[in-house]
Symmetry: C2
Subunit: 115 residues, 2 copies
DNA sequence: ATTGACACCTAGGTGTTCTAGGCGTATATG
DNA sequence: CATATACGCCTAGAACACCTAGGTGTCAAT
């Protein structure tokens, strides 16, 4: 049973996932599973990052040199892959945040155009 | 000559194009070429809608019943396809604007998280 | 005569996201 | 003890939007 085309209940992020991940990791080393929880929690359950989006994104960011990774144990004693922001990653985050600012300003300009 | 990967100068919109088009058309019947000019103009040259993005989007919106189309003459005497917003289109626009509001709020929540 | 703006269009490629699976461990619950 | 649930990682395939790069034709200006 396929959902109807008009059902757009999963209207999350679009190209902002990378930026959000970088921002969360910027708060301190953290593993993937926890990143998705933090994003969901801080956005008050608005963003729900699917694992099928999360892990490819993390690998993408790591490959681009924006994230570094290291296997460590969590507080509950399990092995997990902890990510941290590289210098390049911090620059990228700043660029993406500035860009987001400009995009949302431009969108606001258009949305508020009356007549 | 391929541009370097890190060159992200064309960091436009992402899934917002449909909404922006609907919003422009909501101001009154207008043809495709003029829509792209209006978007560029109102956004102060920030958004530059490529024709390869524009026309498929217009057909998409028309197929979904959000836009109606009619061939008419422009003020310069040329034939052009004028689009206007349908009732469904107006509802869709309202929904997308509300959604955009929630998305940008949620993004702002995360971006402003310190520590 | 040719260039550039106007005005429409499509095919093919790229990249991101979602769905839908799979693997393994630990902990709680029946 | 079984088994479900949370934790924590992963991938393949499909869908979809966007961009590049072409194409057509008209009209005005140089």
């Amino acid at each position: 049973m396929t959902r109807p085309v008009t059902d757009d209940r999963s209207e999350f992020l679009k190209g902002t996932l990378d930026m959000l991940i970088l921002k969360i990791v910027a708060l301190g080393p953290i593993h993937g599973y926890a990143i998705s929880q933090r994003i969901q929690q801080i956005s008050r359950d608005f963003f729900q990052v699917q694992q099928g989006s999360l892990y490819p994104a993390l690998h993408r960011l790591e490959n681009r040199g924006w994230l570094g990774a290291e296997w460590r144990a969590t507080d509950t004693g399990r092995e997990a892959k902890f990510y941290s922001l590289t210098k390049k990653g911090r620059k990228q985050l700043e660029a993406e945040m500035a860009n987001w600012e400009r995009i949302s300003d431009a969108v606001a300009l258009i949305l508020r155009t009356a007549e």
